[in-house]
């Protein structure tokens, strides 16, 4: 039933407190299924120790007479009740505590070990990563070098090849020139001119070109316009030379036009 607890200030605190505490404990226990039905006065501290405090309390309570429930009293009630509960728990579960402690310690040690393992693994990983990074860097450098190197070398090779070929070409051309000059020099006009001069009414003589010149023209024509390698024979070509070239297969006649010749494609 709802009732008003009036804490009157006149009675001595010790006589009020002890039974009060017991009564409270009983009330508390009736609401809590798990608590023991009676809580002995073991939970209450010795009266001697509390005498001073209780005197103070009496003074304060005197001042708050009209209030049914004061904070102080409430707090003290709560302290008592909590202490009671705590003691109950202590009694009931020392074993559980034990087990829990054991579990806690094993879990903690496992935790520690795991942390150490993890640390070691992390270190190992870091080292491996460093290694990989270093290798990557070296790899990059080497790749660059190789590329540069091979490019340079290719260029240089090409250059030297070109030089060699050019030199060879010059050699060949000069050798050819020497050979031709020695064996097929420019004809003097004397012989043919003499014959022709006997009949001045005939056409004026044309300057003849050397065999070298003819060959040069044929070569150039073939090289510069391979699709149209034919050269028209003109009067400056001494006919015997033309015949010479044709007979030895150095030059070829145009299949349809006898006045056009070309160099044989020796390079194909």
């Amino acid at each position: 039933p709802l009732a008003c607890h009036a804490f009157s200030s006149s009675s001595a605190m010790s006589s009020l407190l002890l039974p009060g505490a017991e009564k409270l404990a009983k009330h508390v226990s009736s609401y809590q299924h798990d608590l023991a039905p009676t809580i002995t006065s073991n939970i209450v501290c010795s009266i001697d120790a509390k005498e001073e405090l209780l005197d103070e309390c009496e003074e304060i309570w005197r001042q708050m007479e009209e209030v049914c429930i004061s904070l102080l009293s409430l707090l003290m009630m709560r302290v008592k009740a909590l202490t009671a509960e705590y003691n109950q728990w202590q009694k009931r579960s020392p074993e559980i505590d034990h087990d829990l402690e054991m579990v806690l310690s094993t879990v903690q040690s496992k935790n520690k070990k795991l942390k150490e393992d993890m640390k070691r693994e992390q270190q190992w990983l870091d080292e491996q990563q460093q290694l990989v990074d270093a290798l990557d860097v070296t790899h990059e450098e080497m790749k660059n070098q190789v590329v540069q190197f091979s490019e340079k070398r290719a260029l240089q090779e090409l250059k030297s090849k070109m030089l060699k070929i050019r030199a060879y070409k010059e050699e060949l051309l000069s050798a050819l020139g020497e050979f031709l000059e020695e064996h097929f020099p420019l004809l003097e006009e004397d012989e043919s001119a003499k014959k022709k001069k006997k009949s001045p009414a005939e056409e004026p003589t044309v300057q003849l070109v050397t065999l070298h010149e003819i060959l040069e023209r044929l070569i150039n024509k073939l090289m510069s316009t391979p699709h149209e390698p034919y050269l028209t024979i003109n009067d400056s070509f001494w006919p015997p030379y033309v015949e010479l070239l044709l007979r030895y297969g150095i030059a070829l006649r145009h299949p349809e036009d006898p006045n056009r010749i070309r160099l044989e494609a020796f390079h194909q």
Binding site: P1, L2, A3, C4, H5, L24, H27, V28, Y31, Q32, H33, D34, L35, V67, C68, I69, L71, S73, L74, L75, M77, R78, A81, L82, E85
Partner: protein
């Protein structure tokens, strides 16, 4: 383990705003639970003495204070003086509504907190006009009720209220 007894756990809502009380009561009853609960709504205490003998044991009392109404605060203060001290060992809580509209508050936050401290009971804030918060509040009250009725092994009402109290003071 929780015993599935067909216990009825009475809860008491005390406050001046009856419609809000009804709404909250309904929200609590709607929640899924494995036990029966009774909700008793009152505008003030003490409860009429005639029905004392048939009234079941009360496990939790929630005092509802509307921040917009000084009257609700005074009413609760008056009701508190009629209470048995034993209820303040964890079976009381203060439910503060109307916190959504702080600029219309006529009750100071300090006053409410002082009340909570004075009676060593937790103070829950809510805005019951919003359905989501109403449902959440109902769940919280239901949880508290379970603890106060002793359905949670290892957690007593007193212990729980001490926990709640210390967190509020922080």
């Amino acid at each position: 383990c929780i015993s599935y007894k067909p216990f009825s756990l009475p809860e008491q809502l005390v406050g001046t705003d009856e419609s809000q009380q009804q709404q909250l009561a309904e929200a609590i009853l709607k929640e899924k639970k494995t036990f029966k609960i009774n909700i008793h709504v009152a505008t003030s205490l003490p409860l009429p003495a005639e029905r004392d003998h048939i009234r079941p044991r009360i496990d939790l009392i929630a005092f509802m204070i509307n921040m917009q109404s000084k009257h609700s605060l005074r009413n609760v203060e008056a009701s508190l003086s009629h209470m048995d001290a034993n209820f303040f060992l964890g079976k009381v809580c203060f439910l503060i509504t109307g916190v959504g509209r702080m600029n219309h508050c006529s009750v100071e936050m300090n006053a409410v907190r002082k009340l909570g401290n004075l009676y060593c009971s937790p103070v829950l804030f809510c805005e019951l006009d919003s359905e989501g918060i109403r449902v959440a509040t109902a769940q919280r009250l239901l949880r508290m009720l379970q603890i106060c009725a002793g359905h949670m092994p290892g957690v007593s009402a007193l212990f729980f209220s001490s926990l709640m109290k210390s967190s509020i003071d922080e």
